[in-house]
């Protein structure tokens, strides 16, 4: 009884706040609507018994990603429409690199799929899997993808520093 009330409440909240992200005009409201959507989704995961997944959803998306979204939106103080896509040699090079990197990751992923991984015992993890089970799965079967993702994130961090770095440091 309580579970179904919670489910319908959370599902309604998730869908309506996701709609708000698209519909609302003020970018800060959009970010906060996205936060509500993430929170409702985390609640749905928790209701399924996937507590670890729900908490990681909150830590990663709400605790880190959306704070930075909000940070940027507040600093920019967006008024007009977004600027067009820049067309420079650097933009082309970056896009090519991104496409190449994605293709490389896809290729490695495909290779990893074809490797002789021991048969999956029960069709993936149960939703109730604890931290230890998820960690074992992550660092054995999905190690390659995990490492590739971390390389991608590192590349993104280096790229962000390069893009925002000013050529001449004001003294």
């Amino acid at each position: 009884m309580i579970e179904s009330i919670l489910f319908w409440g959370l599902a309604l909240a998730a869908v309506s706040s996701a709609l708000c992200v698209v519909v609302l005009r003020n970018p800060v409201n959009c970010v906060m609507a996205l936060l509500a959507a993430m929170l409702a989704t985390a609640g749905l995961y928790a209701l399924m018994g996937a507590t670890v997944l729900a908490l990681f959803q909150i830590i990663v998306y709400i605790g880190a990603v959306l704070v930075l979204f909000l940070f940027v939106v507040m600093l920019l103080d967006l008024k007009g429409p977004a600027a067009g896509i820049p067309r420079s040699a650097a933009a082309v090079a970056v896009s090519a690199a991104a496409v190449g990197l994605t293709a490389g990751m896809a290729w490695f992923g495909w290779k990893a799929m074809n490797l002789s991984i021991p048969a999956d015992p029960g069709g993936g993890l149960r939703p109730e899997a604890g931290v230890a089970e998820i960690a074992l799965e992550l660092f054995s079967r999905h190690l390659l993808v995990f490492e590739l993702t971390s390389v991608l994130l590192l590349a993104a961090a280096v790229g962000a520093v390069l893009v925002t770095r000013k050529e001449k440091e004001p003294s």
Binding site: V28, L55, V67, L70, M74, V131
Partner: protein, 319 residues
């Protein structure tokens, strides 16, 4: 879950909530009296015997102050920001045990839960700064966000050593693993890192740059008045209470201790950790903003990694 369990859970939540709110009110008095002691003055001692009714007087005063909203504030977020700040801290107390049995919810992943909900407090501060439509508030809010994100990383890493030693993420299990020997002995570096990071997370002096009054008036709370302002203060003190509880639970053995019964040990430890926080506040000057960032990224983070690796390698070798 039966209805009876549900009701019992609600009663437990209400009980622990009221205890926390009472403690938060009296922590303000304790802090002011301690600061008075450190600065060779008396502190508030006029209301009631020894100033004991001062928090009640403060509460009444806050309720009867005029509740103002600046004219170009974003009203929705201006109203919601203090509520977000307080609820995110109070939610954390759900997994904080007062003893092996007195706890709202003993989750097997309590540490993750704490990290998840304490990281949401930054939204209250960011939104308060932004919605006030005041450049000092906005700067305070942005500083807070940058500071809290930067210190969350060494904070989380400094707990991992404790998690490796106890082999569990449940706070009750972590305290049980410290029977006999407290983790402060095995994790001295982790303890120091955790103490520094958590006092930065609670935005206390020497890390209170977000309300640095000589630059930013009062930072994100400049435009707040009446009980909305009071909610921010409650959030801050609840956060300090949470920090003191966590230091005691992770490193000081929680309710373990000789002679005295278990439910007495945790309050004693929490009291001393809180006194330490006040002592630090009374002693150190505020750091500069670039020093704050340098400390987090270039000192604390490498040390936290070092601590983590050393703990992991030693644990593997010794078992």
């Amino acid at each position: 879950m039966t209805t009876m369990d549900f009701l019992l859970g609600l009663i437990r939540i209400l009980l622990i909530f009221s205890v926390i709110m009472g403690l938060v009110a009296y922590m303000t008095l304790m802090e002011r009296r301690f600061l008075g002691f450190f600065q060779l003055r008396l502190g508030p001692n006029r209301v009631g015997p020894g100033g004991l009714f001062q928090p009640i007087a403060d509460g009444i005063k806050l309720f009867f102050k005029e509740d103002m909203t600046v004219s170009h504030a974003n009203r929705v977020w201006f109203l919601l920001a203090p509520a977000i700040a307080l609820t995110s801290v109070l939610a954390c107390f759900a997994v904080v045990p007062a003893s092996a049995t007195i706890v709202v919810a003993d989750m097997p992943v309590a540490v993750l839960y704490l990290l998840a909900f304490s990281s949401m407090g930054v939204y209250g501060i960011l939104l308060a700064g932004w919605s006030s439509n005041n450049k000092y508030s906005l700067l305070g809010g942005l500083r807070a966000a940058a500071q809290m994100i930067s210190y969350e990383i060494p904070l989380a890493l400094s707990i991992v050593g404790v998690l490796i030693l106890s082999g569990s993420m449940s706070l009750v299990e972590i305290v049980k693993a410290q029977e006999g020997l407290w983790f402060i002995v095995k994790q001295p570096l982790g303890f120091v890192l955790f103490l520094i990071c958590i006092s930065a997370e609670t935005n206390r002096t020497p890390f209170d740059l977000l309300e640095c009054e000589n630059e930013l008036v009062a930072g994100y709370q400049t435009e707040y008045s009446s009980m909305k302002f009071g909610l921010f203060y409650m959030a801050e003190y609840a956060h300090i209470l949470l920090a003191s509880c966590l230091v005691s639970l992770f490193f000081l053995g929680g309710w373990n201790g000789p002679l005295l019964p278990a439910p007495l040990w945790l309050p004693i430890k929490v009291f001393f950790v809180f006194a330490l926080f006040v002592w630090v506040r009374a002693t150190f000057p505020r750091v500069r903003y670039d020093q704050l960032m340098t400390l987090s990224w270039k000192v604390l983070l490498p040390l936290a990694f070092l601590n983590l690796m050393a703990t992991a390698v030693l644990t593997v070798y010794l078992t």
